[in-house]
Structures are given as structure tokens and as C-alpha cells.
Symmetry: C2
Subunit: 365 residues, 2 copies
């Protein structure tokens, strides 16, 4: 007899949402030369953010401000809302977990896309929620179908990622706004906007609307994935409820300093957007040279349609990895006919361009 | 009608375990000149750790390794156990929350000391656990009484902090080992060893014992509170279960690099221990000059017995804060007759020495 796990953890499978590139590197016994699989931003953070983090490193003996006061004030100005609409947390992943914990009782239904973000599914399962899945439509999440399914099922929560990971597509503001308008009064939409800085336009959503929680990241456009800091925008009562469960001193003080500096460097953000746009074009060119098409992207990655099934795409992913190029792929059919290539510096895209023909040939075997 | 909270969060009070010094500084409209309230380590981290974090800041566009592989290997060597005995997380606070989530169902009993670490209580309440409290005995936690109470109540978990926060006392190895020996087979002891590097000796506990999870920190002796990184040592099956619920990519990559460097700098740790020991003597001298006694400490802080009740001590804490000196105090009687002063550099202790007479006089007012 040993200490037993609580009911929900005891029922969970031993699973990991994502295998990290370091694990793959250890398995193959060599580092990757191109790290294009996790939608990290290889163009890097603002030099001002790096400088702020370097300065903050010497002050790391202090806990970070548990209220994230200064960053929340800056974010409120940036987003045109009040600081009371903002909660800062350990990345979108951390905030997703807290949001599920706050809203979902064991057995409650939660609706997401079949093939949507696995870490969200991980958190829903982790609190005993029952996941209902709506298929992609034309390689896009289907906002109105998601809300309709959630309403029909009496779900507590519906998840929508826009722009979308893993396919890269984007719904214009009016589509998102129509989905929000269709939300029942007692349902919460998690609108994951981790990639929103790459989108042409943002939906207008009242930050006081209790039915929507928008998630934002410093991991993607701001190039600070390793800092583990993100935020959510929502109604003050919901935002305040995070204080009931969050790890109050959980946000890294160095990350707070870096995020504040990154937010202030709009010039660097503009540069990043331009670099990412150019890299998307480059990825499309590499694909075309190899006879492959790409899907439209409003993110910092591109889904390359490999024209076969999931097994074929997986062989390409493995063939690229064997040649030192780390990419990932969508996780359900038919989207898993694609591979997902993150935007990165030319040297990394060169490595992708070099490896793809052989990886394709090997996959066709 | 708005989205409603899940059952447990809906039942929780709006509470915050600790008010951070930044909030107090904003309230008083001026920064503190001495930050001696949160048991941070004002002597700072190893210069090697700072250098590693500065270098890692430029690489922050990468997610940290979700397996914390290199750090776990180093910790295993350091602790004389296997990497499979170690889980790395976002500080002890984060690991405490995960441990409670893994073990405690709503209504399950958990035993701690009355006046023990509030953040642990926060997590237990946050998962619906029922807290049972055992009083301090001679200003010390009472290990055998904690275990006996837990066994009698059929508790799932018992919490013990050694060396102890907030009083600073320390039980020698044989006392802890006896408490462990008395644990029922199905009970988990959380042995919070956040301050263990300041203790004269460590208990010997089989890392494969499924009844004990030891928590360790980089926030105290290693001076990296703002980095939010800590670890736990336990049986492989329990350690593996953290993968079911943890935020896999949650540990800051800069913190991983800093922790690895800090762990390798035993010379700096020795220097820190010496500085802390000297600061404890200095705090005792300052107390003595003011007619106050101190309690024995095996930590990086000292409980100063102010000789009155909790209201008297609170007036001293407020008087010190008004004079720019941040300290905290124990939270229940009779321990709350004390104030808790963290060890820090001479300049900060000078400020404490300067402010204490007036704060005392004001409290006696």
C-alpha cells in the first residue's frame, strides 16, 4: 500500500502534450541545425527586452511582484482596457490550466476543435472535463459550429484559437465577433490569440464581456517563449477569480522585466512582422520547388501540404529530423497530411530547403 | 447570468497568501530601503548563475527543455539519487500546488501546523482539502504530533517544514527520521526543505520511500527567488505522476540555466552560508540592544521575540515599514509575538537597526 492519487489524476493516462526538441536531440545524439518545430521565434526578442532581462538577472534574488502591477498597467494601455481586465500568468499554457480549473467541474463538457491545441485538451482532461470535438472545415476552425455545438451540449467552455495553430489560418474580425454574439450568457469562450500580432486585424470584443477570455502570449511575436509569461483579457470578476487559485508569486521576475521592455518596443515588433512575412514567402518557395503547396498563414509558421496521409507526413518529419531539421505536424486527419514549419532566420530555412528533397524522397521510399 | 465558477473555486474566499513588498511600497508611496520580509537572499545568487542567466537571456526565444533533463541529472548527482526521483517545477510554491492536486480529493484531510506555511494552506483549500492544524510546541513544529494527528484523522497528507518557516527552528535528523518511520503506508509527507542548505545536517530518507516528498528551492540559499525554480525528491512513481498534471513547458529557460550554474558553485554557497550566519548574529545583536531576544535559527531569517502580543508585533512591523524597512511576522498566536527578519547585507541590517528603536517606541506608544 502506498499513498494513492486523487480521483482525477489516478484516471489520467501517462501522456505528455509535446515532446521537446531537446529530447529528440538526445535520442538522435546530435543537436538540430534548424529549430522550426515549436513556433518559437528564431528572430528573437527585442534587444531592449534582452537588455532588461540581463539587468534583471542581477536582481533575481527578489521575488517578482505577485500583482504584476507595472506590466498590467502597460498592458492595459496597450490593449485599451483597464488593469482590472488583465491577469498575467506563466504563459498561455499556464493560464489555460487555471481557466479550466476555475470553470470546469469533473464531467462538465468543453468544446474544442478536433485537432486543436493539445495542451488545452491536456488541461481539460486534467480537471476531469469531457471534451467534445468539432471537425475543422476547409482546414480552418469553424467558430459558429463550435459555439453551436457547445450551446447544444450545454458546455461550460468553448475553445477557439485565432489565428489558428496548427494550420495557420485566420478568421477576420466579423467572423469572430459573430461567434461571440452567438455565445450563451453562461458560456465562456477561451479565445486563444497567441499569434494575434501576426493577424491583419483584431476582432472588437468588449473587455467587460463575461463570456470571453482572450489569451495573449509573449512567446511568439515577442520571441520570449522561454520566459514563460502571457496574459489574459476578460471581465474583472473572472480576472479577479484567478487570485483564488493562481500561484501568486509564480511569474518570473526576469520575465516581467523583459515583457515590459518588449511591449514598449513596437519598432522591433514591426521588424519581426516583416521578417516573419518574408520567411512565410520563403517557406512557400521552398515548398513550391518541391512540388508542394502551402496553406494561407496569419501566424509565424506555415502548414505545408505534403499531399499524402498522416503516415507520409510523419515520415517527412522524421526524415527532416534525421537531417537536423526539427518541425512538427498537425495531429489529426486530414490536417495531418501537412507539416508545420516555423518561420526562422535564413540559415535555418536554408537547412530546411537542403533537407526537404531528401526527406521527401525518403518518405516516398 | 454569466459563466459560473466550478464548485471549489466558487466556494473559495477572495484571499491572497502574501501581500508583496511592491504593493506595500506603492501604498506608502516610497520604496523600502531594506527588503527583509520575504526571506529572500539579499546576498544574491552565484556570479556564475547571474552570468549563465545573462547568457540565456539571448536564447529566451526557445522554450525551456520541458523535461528539465540537464538540471535533473545534476540534481541527481547532487542529491545522491536517480533523475527519476526528481521533478523540477516553478518553485516550491508551484510544486506544492501540484502535489496537493495529485493527492487530495475534495473533502480529504490534510494536516499541517497551526501557523505553518500559508501558501500550502492556500493550495489545500484550492483543491477542496480539509485542513487540520496541530499547534506549535515551544515555537517548533511538532513532527511526531503532526504524524499522529494525521494517522488518527485518516489524512492523505501531512506537511512539515524543516528548517521551519516562520520561526526558524530546526529538528535534527533523528527527529525527522522518527516522524517518517511513524508514517502510515498510505500517507504522504510533504517535507518542505526550502531552507535546508542552512541546516547543520540533513535527515537520511530513502528517496524511493513512497511516503515522502522532499521539496527544495533555488529561492533561498541560492538567491534566485525571482527565477521560480525548485525541485522535489520522491519515489519514481509519484514523481512520474507529476507529468499527468504539470505545465510541461512551465519552467523558465533562463531559470534552468541559472539553477544549473548555481548548483555547480559550491564555493558561493559556502560564502552565502557564512554571510547568513554572520547576519543572524548581527540581528541578534540589534535585538539585544533593544532589549529583545531572538529564537534559534537554522534558516536565513531570525524570529525576534518582541515580548508582547500579535497586535504589538504588528505595530512594530508597521512602524518599521513606515521607516522603510520591510519585515513580516508569524501569523498565529503565540508565535505572532515575534517579527521575522530576513538576513541581508549590512546596509539593510543598518537600516533595520536604525528603525527598530523608534518602531518599538511607537508600538509601546
Amino acid at each position: 500500500m502506498t499513498p494513492r492519487l486523487a480521483t482525477i489524476p489516478a484516471s489520467l493516462p501517462d501522456s505528455v502534450p509535446f515532446v521537446g526538441p531537446e529530447t529528440l536531440e538526445r535520442r538522435r545524439g546530435a543537436p538540430f541545425c534548424a529549430r522550426l518545430g515549436a513556433n518559437e521565434n528564431g528572430f528573437g526578442p527585442s534587444p531592449l527586452a534582452i537588455e532588461a532581462m540581463r539587468a534583471a538577472a542581477a536582481e533575481v534574488w527578489k521575488y517578482g511582484d505577485p500583482t504584476n502591477h507595472d506590466l498590467k498597467q502597460a498592458l492595459a494601455r496597450h490593449c485599451g482596457c483597464d488593469a482590472g481586465n488583465i491577469v498575467v500568468g506563466e504563459g498561455v499554457d499556464g493560464l489555460l490550466g487555471l481557466a479550466v480549473r476555475l470553470l470546469v467541474d469533473a464531467g462538465d463538457r468543453v468544446v474544442t476543435s478536433d485537432g486543436g491545441y493539445p495542451t488545452f485538451d491536456f488541461h481539460v482532461a486534467g480537471f476531469g472535463g469531457q471534451l467534445l470535438r468539432v471537425p475543422y472545415r476547409d482546414d480552418m476552425q469553424d467558430p459558429l459550429a463550435l459555439v453551436a455545438r457547445a450551446a447544444g451540449a450545454g458546455a461550460r467552455m468553448v475553445y477557439l484559437c485565432n489565428p489558428d495553430n496548427p494550420m495557420g489560418g485566420w478568421h477576420p474580425p466579423e467572423v469572430i465577433e459573430a461567434a461571440v454574439a452567438a455565445l450563451p450568457a453562461d458560456m465562456l469562450m477561451i479565445l486563444d490569440e497567441a499569434y494575434v500580432e501576426f493577424a491583419p486585424a483584431l476582432p472588437r470584443i468588449d473587455p467587460a464581456d463575461p463570456r470571453v477570455l482572450r489569451m495573449r502570449s509573449f512567446s511568439k511575436a515577442h520571441g520570449m517563449a522561454g520566459a514563460r509569461i502571457g496574459y489574459a483579457i476578460g471581465a474583472p470578476s473572472l480576472v479577479a477569480a484567478f487570485d483564488r487559485v493562481r500561484n501568486h508569486f509564480g511569474v518570473n521576475g526576469v520575465a516581467q522585466a523583459g515583457a515590459l521592455a518588449a511591449l514598449g518596443d513596437s519598432a522591433h515588433l514591426g521588424l519581426t512582422r516583416a521578417r516573419v512575412a518574408a520567411a512565410r514567402v520563403r517557406i512557400a518557395e521552398i515548398a513550391a520547388v518541391n512540388g508542394l503547396a502551402v496553406l494561407p498563414s496569419a501566424t509565424n509558421f506555415v502548414a505545408v501540404d505534403c499531399g499524402g496521409d498522416g503516415d507520409f507526413a510523419r515520415r517527412i518529419v522524421e526524415g527532416l529530423a534525421a537531417r537536423g531539421v526539427f518541425v512538427r505536424m498537425p495531429w489529426v486527419a486530414p490536417q495531418n497530411r501537412c507539416i508545420r514549419v516555423s518561420c526562422g532566420p535564413d540559415s535555418e530555412l536554408d537547412a530546411f530547403a537542403d533537407a526537404l528533397p531528401e526527406a521527401l524522397a525518403g518518405a516516398r521510399g
